[in-house]
């Protein structure tokens, strides 16, 4: 028994070392960001041996990072709210009501998974330009509102709710909207939270579309904005890493807090695509 225990501990240690190597780039970014610029190029120990926050202060005071935070938070929040509400309503109708075109709508939503979204960017850009929305929050937001996975996931969860509960509310004189917001939604807070987090993270992380639709520096989101600073900083490594970590901080913290929900959402939405 002790031999087996010993082997287990050795195995755990081995996996832990592998995981530590995997996360090393992030750790190395942190180490670099906490050093003074001239030490980085002279000697570079692997351990964090200096707590120099000047790179962070420099980045926060000279770049437009605070404005990019605001743009990212604002657009990602609006995207999340609209995607969830419209997706939930549509899924409810698909799941619970009979209406002409229901099957067709469902098929179109499922088929839309096949379309690679970046292939539409040229046409979407032309549309945004026609609407005068280039370099605006709505220009960033509108094309990102297409998240068909949300509809399918909600539909599956709504399908699983027993019909008897629904009849009871209808007998009490409640309508479809009462049903959705007083019964179906409260029963699905868990999946709503999971979908919200994953929609938020993917909106926050989207690079390609905001990069196309925004050219003015004060409208940029975090992932696009930091690439601009990159060019102007040149070889200031501590500042670059401070910038990268400040840009990543919200998603890292968000993930660590809502870990369970994130993993749940990833698994469910991948299952739907399969």
């Amino acid at each position: 028994m002790t031999a087996k225990q010993g082997r287990n501990i050795a195995f755990s240690a081995l996996v832990l070392i592998a995981a530590a190597i995997w996360i090393f780039p992030l750790y190395w970014a942190l180490t670099t960001s906490l050093r003074s610029e001239n030490r980085i190029v002279s000697d570079a120990g692997v351990w964090i041996d200096e707590l120099n926050f000047s790179a962070y202060i420099e980045v926060l005071s000279t770049s437009k990072l605070p404005i990019w935070y605001l743009n990212s938070v604002g657009t990602s929040l609006i995207i999340t709210v609209i995607v969830l509400i419209t997706g939930m309503m549509c899924a409810y109708a698909l799941s619970q009501l009979r209406f002409p075109g229901r099957r067709l709508l469902y098929l179109v939503v499922v088929a839309s998974f096949m379309v690679p979204v970046p292939a539409l960017y040229v046409a979407q850009f032309v549309l945004m330009s026609d609407l005068g929305l280039v370099n605006s929050w709505w220009g960033i937001i509108l094309p990102q509102l297409i998240v068909p996975v949300v509809v399918i996931v909600y539909k599956q969860f709504f399908d699983a709710i027993p019909k008897e509960m629904r009849e009871a509310v209808l007998l009490d004189g409640g309508g479809e909207f009462t049903l959705l917001f007083k019964l179906y939604l409260p029963l699905n807070w868990g999946i709503t939270a999971a979908l919200a987090i994953i929609t938020f993270i993917s909106a926050w992380n989207n690079f390609f579309w905001p990069f196309l639709v925004v050219t003015s520096e004060s409208m940029m989101t975090i992932p696009v904005g930091i690439t601009q600073v990159n060019d102007s900083f040149g070889v200031f490594y501590a500042r670059m890493m401070a910038l990268a970590l400040l840009a990543a901080a919200p998603v890292i913290i968000g993930y660590l807090i809502f870990q369970k929900r994130v993993t749940e959402a990833v698994m469910i939405s991948a299952g739907v695509k399969g």
């Binding site: 209406f99 939503v109 539409l120 992380n205 930091i226």
Partner: protein, 295 residues
């Protein structure tokens, strides 16, 4: 309430519920889909009207040497990422599955964390790791090649290195899928196999691998589609270079549309990418089904 009134009300409510989604979907998805098809048959600039030129864009595209380079690079990148990431993710998932409690949660977090990072953060960190002068990985490269290599400026190193960065970034997603798949395999199957005297190796190939196949197929398919859409990492790390050695299809679409102002031609490129993705995923789906049946 008569049945007819009730039915009418149901349809009315359904329309009200579906409308917001349908309007957004129609205007910002279906219409652009139609538009990109229509544009691909015109000589339109990015902004403004063009003339119908039939299949000219497609004819031009299929005699464009840069386009073949792009397609080739896309498939080279698929080769470098899809199967390696699937194997790495499976190994990690098997290892994580053997751990217990907090240890398991900690290790899983560490492996998954890169997946939530914005792409430009990932590329900034790796550009620093692989920096020609001060990159901490250069001694490692020097040990292999005898001299430091500016990896993103070297035509042989650029694609494999972008593949490494991409695998590091997206692998956590595949690990999660495999872990979910492994949890669905009932324990008594392993117990029965152990009673029959099966070795760990046999247990893997006779129990785990066949039962996990649907997940493996899912991971392969999702990765294939994802990696064909490569743009961000290439744009940020090498900008398609050097000598077009990391030029990919979406890079060409971007250049044609947004730098050379050829909206029509860029749309034709987008359509071909769409076609490639549909064909490849149908082919892969068929292959994976056959692979699944044989087990």
């Amino acid at each position: 309430m008569s049945i007819a009134t009730r039915r009418r009300r149901e349809v009315r409510d359904a329309i009200l519920l579906v409308a917001p989604f349908l309007i957004i979907f129609g205007v910002f998805f279906l219409y652009p889909t139609y538009k990109v098809i229509a544009l691909s048959f015109t000589d339109a600039p990015l902004i403004g009207e063009g003339n119908w030129i039939g299949l000219d864009n497609y004819i031009k595209l299929f005699s464009d040497r840069l386009f073949y380079t792009s397609v080739w690079n896309n498939f080279y990148f698929v080769l470098l990422t899809v199967i390696p990431t699937t194997i790495i993710a499976l190994l990690i998932a098997l290892a994580v599955g053997k751990l217990k409690g907090r240890m398991q949660a900690l290790v899983l977090t560490l492996f998954f964390l890169p997946y939530v990072l914005p792409v430009s953060v990932v590329t900034m960190i790796w550009a620093w790791m692989l920096d020609f002068q001060f990159g901490i990985l250069q001694p490692l490269i020097e040990a292999v090649t005898g001299k430091p290599v500016p990896v993103f400026k070297n035509p042989y190193w650029v694609m494999p290195m972008i593949a490494v960065v991409t695998i590091w970034w997206t692998n956590g997603f595949n690990v999660l899928l495999f872990i979910a798949g492994l949890r669905n395999i009932p324990d008594d199957l392993y117990e029965a196999a152990a009673l029959d005297g099966a070795t760990a190796w046999q247990r893997f190939w006779r129990v785990t691998w066949p039962l996990l196949w649907p997940i493996t197929a899912l991971v392969l398919t999702l990765q294939l589609i994802l990696q064909l859409k490569l743009f961000d990492q290439v744009y940020l790390l090498s900008n398609g270079g050097p000598f077009n050695s990391s030029y990919v299809v979406l890079m060409q679409m971007y250049r044609e549309a947004f730098q050379l102002n050829n909206g029509g031609y860029a749309s034709a490129i987008a359509m071909v990418l769409f076609g490639i993705i549909v064909i490849v995923s149908v082919l892969q789906f068929q292959l994976l089904r056959i692979g699944g049946r044989r087990k």
